[in-house]
Each structure stands twice: as structure tokens, then as C-alpha cells.
């Protein structure tokens, strides 16, 4: 029973890291990225192949096999995901807007999926990777104990990324991103080229995705292309919109409520017909929840505007002309 809850919480934290990262892309900057799970997959693969040893099983082939410490592999996964995002950005975000961007990102995810699936020397193709070493190394530990260890690690990383999100939100950088999201013509007319801040937030969000993927593979110790079907990106986006796009608390709520709550609920829904339809039921439940939220609470359960943190002083009411005073010698 304990394992059931810790397991749920670990997966919840990992999903929350993903949605918090996606929130930087879509919530903060308005970049509609349907290929988000691709960066999760890249992080997972890189973390796996850099921490595992060389392939030993017959027929299993993958690159690297460096047996690096888990945290080095994890960070490498994040960095590679971020590096790939720079390339993707150069080809897509800089040139395309909203709906076109969405189409191209979906295509990119499918291409990536097919390459990994059919090119076995890279990550062992469709069979995928297994026996990824646990972060506890050779220490003999029960699966309950391991999930507790992973819970601590994922919770700390989630907290760190939420802190980063908060710093960005409250900074002029975050304000500029929101401005670009709302109306690019305005920020451009006031001296800001859009691509630089967009590239930064794209890279930071993709790094978080890579870290989440690495944590995932270190926790469940296996990974294959079936785990990053593009539909996963839709689930992440749905949970962000339901939770409250633009608000990191909303992102976390969405991750726990939608992905955890609804997915787990649908797992325990009374079985009828083919039990293999559970995945379809999950999609239906999330779809219905998304429609209901968009209809009745389009800003999400925790709207962005709840994040106002500052007060404007009640004093210093000024009647004189205040502008340009810094220009006066």
C-alpha cells in the first residue's frame, strides 16, 4: 500500500517537472509545442545509455555505455535535450507562428520516433533499453525503499524547477515573454526582437523535459519508443491547460490531477469490453475534462492572474509630469 502511494507520487513529481517545463514554453511564451515529449525521450535515452555499461545481451545494441554516475547522466540528458531544442528552434520557432509551429513540431516528433524505432545501433530500436542501473547503485534495496529515495530526488528537483519558474515569472524577462505572447507587435515596437527571449525559454523548458525523462528512466529502469508516442505531448498540454496555463502551481496541479488522478482513475474504472482499451478510456476522460475546462473555466483551475505578487504603493501620488526625468542631466 505504501508502495502504491510513493510510486504515484514519484510519477506525479516527474510528470509535474514535465508540465512545469511545458508551462515555460506554452504558458509563459505562448509557444505551442506538440513535440515536448520528444525532449523527455531524448533526456531519457541519453541518461540511460550514459549510465549503462556496454551492451551485453546478444542482439542488443546502443551507443555510449559509459557507466557514468546517475547524476552526470541525468544532467547530460538535460543538456542534450536543450541542445536539440536549439536546432529545432532555429528551424521552426524563428520562422513559424502558432498553428504552423504546432504542425511542424508534431512532424518532428514523428520523425524522431521513426528514426529511433528503425535505427537500432542508436537506442536499440523498437525493443528499447532495459536494465538501466538504479541510482542507489549496488546497494540492495526494496522497491518500496527505492521509490522513497526517488521520491526525495524528484521532489527536490521539482522544487528547484518551480523556484526557477517563479524567478522567471517575477522578473522583467518573464514580463517580456508574456508581452511577446500577448502581442508581439507591441514588444517589437518597443525595442525587443522576439527570438532571443523565446530561444532562452525554449532551451530552459527543454532542459527540464530532458531531466524529467532521465528521472523517469532511472526510476522505471527501461525505456522504448512506445513510451514517447506523440499522444503523450497532448496529455501534457491538456493537463497544463486544465491546471492553469502560465501558472506554475496550475501546472503542478494539472500534472497531479489530470495525469495522475484521471489516468489512475480510468485504470480502476469497471472493465468492460477489452481490458486493452484502458488507454483509450484514459484519452477520453482527459479529452472530456479538457472540453469542460475550456468551456467553463478557460483560464484553468488556477489562472495565471492569481500569481500577482507585488503591491503598488498607495502613497506618492504625483501630479507633475514624471516622464523623461532620467534624461534630464
Amino acid at each position: 500500500m505504501l508502495f502504491f502511494f510513493t510510486d504515484l507520487l514519484v510519477l506525479g513529481c516527474i510528470n509535474a517537472i514535465m508540465v512545469v517545463g511545458l508551462n515555460l514554453h506554452y504558458g509563459y511564451a505562448g509557444l505551442l509545442n506538440f513535440a515536448f515529449y520528444m525532449y523527455v525521450a531524448i533526456g531519457a535515452y541519453i541518461a540511460a545509455v550514459t549510465t549503462m555499461g556496454s551492451p551485453t545481451f546478444p542482439g542488443v545494441t546502443y551507443i555510449f555505455g559509459w557507466t557514468l554516475p546517475w547524476w552526470v547522466g541525468l544532467i547530460l540528458g538535460g543538456l542534450v535535450a536543450a541542445a536539440v531544442s536549439v536546432v529545432i528552434f532555429a528551424f521552426t520557432v524563428r520562422r513559424l507562428r502558432s498553428d504552423y509551429l504546432a504542425i511542424v513540431t508534431v512532424s518532428a516528433a514523428f520523425i524522431m520516433l521513426n528514426v529511433v524505432n528503425s535505427f537500432t545501433p542508436l537506442f536499440d530500436g523498437g525493443t528499447g533499453l532495459f536494465n538501466v542501473p538504479p541510482i542507489t547503485g549496488n546497494l540492495s534495496i526494496s522497491s518500496e525503499g527505492y521509490s522513497l529515495v526517488m521520491l526525495a530526488v524528484t521532489a527536490v528537483i521539482l522544487a528547484l524547477f518551480v523556484w526557477v519558474s517563479q524567478r522567471i515569472f517575477r522578473s522583467p524577462f518573464g514580463r517580456l515573454l508574456r508581452g511577446i505572447r500577448e502581442d508581439e507587435a507591441v514588444t517589437t515596437a518597443f525595442g525587443h526582437a522576439s527570438w532571443r527571449p523565446q530561444l532562452w525559454i525554449f532551451v530552459i523548458g527543454s532542459f527540464m523535459a530532458g531531466i524529467a525523462g532521465g528521472l523517469f528512466v532511472l526510476y522505471i529502469s527501461a525505456w522504448n519508443p512506445g513510451a514517447f508516442l506523440p499522444i503523450e505531448s497532448f496529455f501534457l498540454l491538456s493537463s497544463l491547460i486544465i491546471g492553469g496555463s502560465g501558472n506554475y502551481w496550475g501546472a503542478m496541479l494539472g500534472a497531479f490531477v489530470v495525469i495522475e488522478g484521471l489516468a489512475e482513475l480510468s485504470r480502476y474504472s469497471p472493465t468492460f469490453g477489452n481490458p486493452a482499451d484502458a488507454g483509450a478510456i484514459r484519452a477520453i476522460v482527459i479529452g472530456v475534462a479538457l472540453i469542460l475546462v475550456l468551456r467553463y473555466r478557460p483560464e484553468g483551475l488556477i489562472p495565471e492572474r492569481w500569481l500577482r505578487w507585488y503591491r503598488v504603493g498607495a502613497g506618492n501620488v504625483v501630479r507633475r509630469f514624471p516622464a523623461l526625468r532620467r534624461n534630464v542631466p
Binding site: 522583467p172 508581452g179 518597443f190 523623461l324 532620467r326
Partner: protein
């Protein structure tokens, strides 16, 4: 450069959308510390001229000498950094952002817009941020939006949006301010407030180009009026003189006999 020199010298400017020449050989100057009105019938090229000045459009012919530099092809961010601020024909706000953020986003050289400083080095921009917030508060107060500082800008009325746009433009500390119909669809009292404020801004030495259709409003703010028709400058002078000009009357009444050679009257008062 003496302050007597105009802030902008527009020479033989031309721009076409496809086959239609929206601006076709317009030349005039905008003075520092003065309000230059820009009038003309619909399709005269007034808004296109603002788009050209703000860098959104690149002229097909002619030059825009801003403080002696031809800004053609610079693009809006660079033009803005050089000290040209604008409002939009239909007020553009960042609807989900509070009014104060709408204004603060326009300030130049914000240290905290650097991502790494934003995340890891808050002390490098905290003081500047506080100063900007105070300045934005004062500006919005000065423009009568004191009670709306934290309201999402999307909830403002049409007139309030116009006022907010002026505050936003001033936040950029412009040397040249382009106002595209700041009183369109605005309640008369707000319109009077805008007129007063525009005069006060000009008194600070800012050059202002202002498109307007309301002659009453123009007569209270504009030092000088440039009349455009069919992409050219018909005439220029004080409003009461310009109003009696035969060609201006003809252009406004729709008689299409505004002859091309009238474009030569650039700068004549």
C-alpha cells in the same frame, strides 16, 4: 546638432502595397518640442507613414533622416531603441497583463531581461525594477489610470486603452512620439485630457507626430498641420490657414483634383 534642427526629415518617401502607392513622394519635417498634426482623407497614406517611421514597413523610395541617420530598413526594435515610440491606430494592449506591466514592458535597457540575471542574480535588477514600477505608477497616475494599475489591460475601455498607450510610449523615453489617432472613439472629456497631456509632453522637447480627424481636437494641440492626400503632402501650415486651402477642401470633399505638382509645396506654411 542644434535643437533647432528638426528631429525627423522625411524626403520623397514612397511605399506601395502591391500596385497601390499608399505613400508616394511625401516630404516634410517634424520639429522637436512641437506637435505636428497629420490630416487627410481616408487612404491618404497617414497610417502607412507612421508604419514607415516606426520601422514596421521599409520604404520603397526616399529616406527618413532621424537625427541625421537614415532609418530605412532598420526594423521596429532598432528604431525603437533609437528613441521613437508609437501608439497604434486601434489601441493594442497585452490583454491578460496588468496595466502596470503593459507600461513597464516598454522601458528600455532592462537588466532583468537577461535570462540568467533574471534567475540567478536578482540583486542586479531589483533596484531598477522598483524605479521602473514607481515611474510607471506616476505615469499612469498622470494619465488618470491610478485606479486601474493592477487591472488586466483587456478590461480597460477604449479611452483608457488610449491613455495607457500614451503612458507606455512615454515609458520608453522617446525623442519622437508617433500618435496614430489617439482620440478615435474617445469620450470628449478624455479627449481633452489627452490634448493637455500631449501639449505637456511636447513642452519637454519631444517631437510629436499626431494623426487626427477631429479638427476641434487638432486646433487645441497641433502647432502645425501637414495635409496629405493620395500619398503626397498637399500643404502644411497652421490649422486655420490650412483649412481654407482650396486643395484641402477639395480633397476632403472627395473631388479628386488634387494635382500631383502640389506635392512640391513641402514645408511651405
Amino acid at each position: 546638432m542644434t535643437s533647432e534642427e528638426p528631429i525627423v526629415d522625411i524626403r520623397d518617401l514612397a511605399f506601395h502595397y502591391g500596385g497601390v502607392w499608399a505613400v508616394n513622394g511625401a516630404s516634410f519635417t517634424i520639429d522637436r518640442g512641437a506637435v505636428t498634426g497629420l490630416i487627410g482623407p481616408n487612404g491618404a497614406g497617414k497610417s502607412t507613414l507612421i508604419e514607415l517611421l516606426s520601422g514596421t514597413l521599409t520604404p520603397h523610395r526616399g529616406s527618413i533622416l532621424y537625427q541625421g541617420v537614415d532609418t530605412a530598413g532598420f526594423g521596429p526594435p532598432r528604431v525603437a531603441q533609437m528613441g521613437i515610440a508609437r501608439t497604434f491606430q486601434t489601441a493594442r494592449v497585452l490583454p491578460r497583463l496588468p496595466v502596470i506591466e503593459n507600461v513597464m514592458v516598454a522601458a528600455g535597457n532592462q537588466v532583468g531581461e537577461s535570462p540568467l540575471k533574471a534567475i540567478f542574480w536578482r540583486s542586479s535588477w531589483r533596484k531598477q525594477e522598483a524605479a521602473l514600477r514607481e515611474e510607471a505608477t506616476e505615469l499612469l497616475d498622470w494619465l488618470g489610470l491610478r485606479d486601474h494599475l493592477l487591472a488586466p489591460a483587456g478590461t480597460l475601455s477604449g479611452g483608457q486603452r488610449r491613455l495607457m498607450e500614451i503612458a507606455r510610449a512615454l515609458m520608453a523615453h522617446p525623442k519622437l512620439l508617433l500618435l496614430d489617432e489617439p482620440t478615435a472613439g474617445v469620450f470628449p472629456e478624455t479627449s481633452r485630457l489627452i490634448a493637455t497631456r500631449v501639449r505637456e509632453i511636447a513642452k519637454q522637447g519631444v517631437g510629436i507626430l499626431l494623426i487626427a480627424h477631429n479638427m476641434g481636437f487638432l486646433s487645441t494641440v497641433a502647432d502645425d498641420v501637414v495635409v496629405m492626400a493620395e500619398g503626397r503632402v498637399l500643404t502644411r501650415g497652421p490649422l486655420e490657414v490650412v483649412r481654407t486651402h482650396q486643395e484641402v477642401i477639395a480633397a476632403y470633399l472627395g473631388a479628386s483634383n488634387a494635382r500631383p505638382e502640389l506635392g512640391e509645396q513641402v514645408g511651405s506654411a
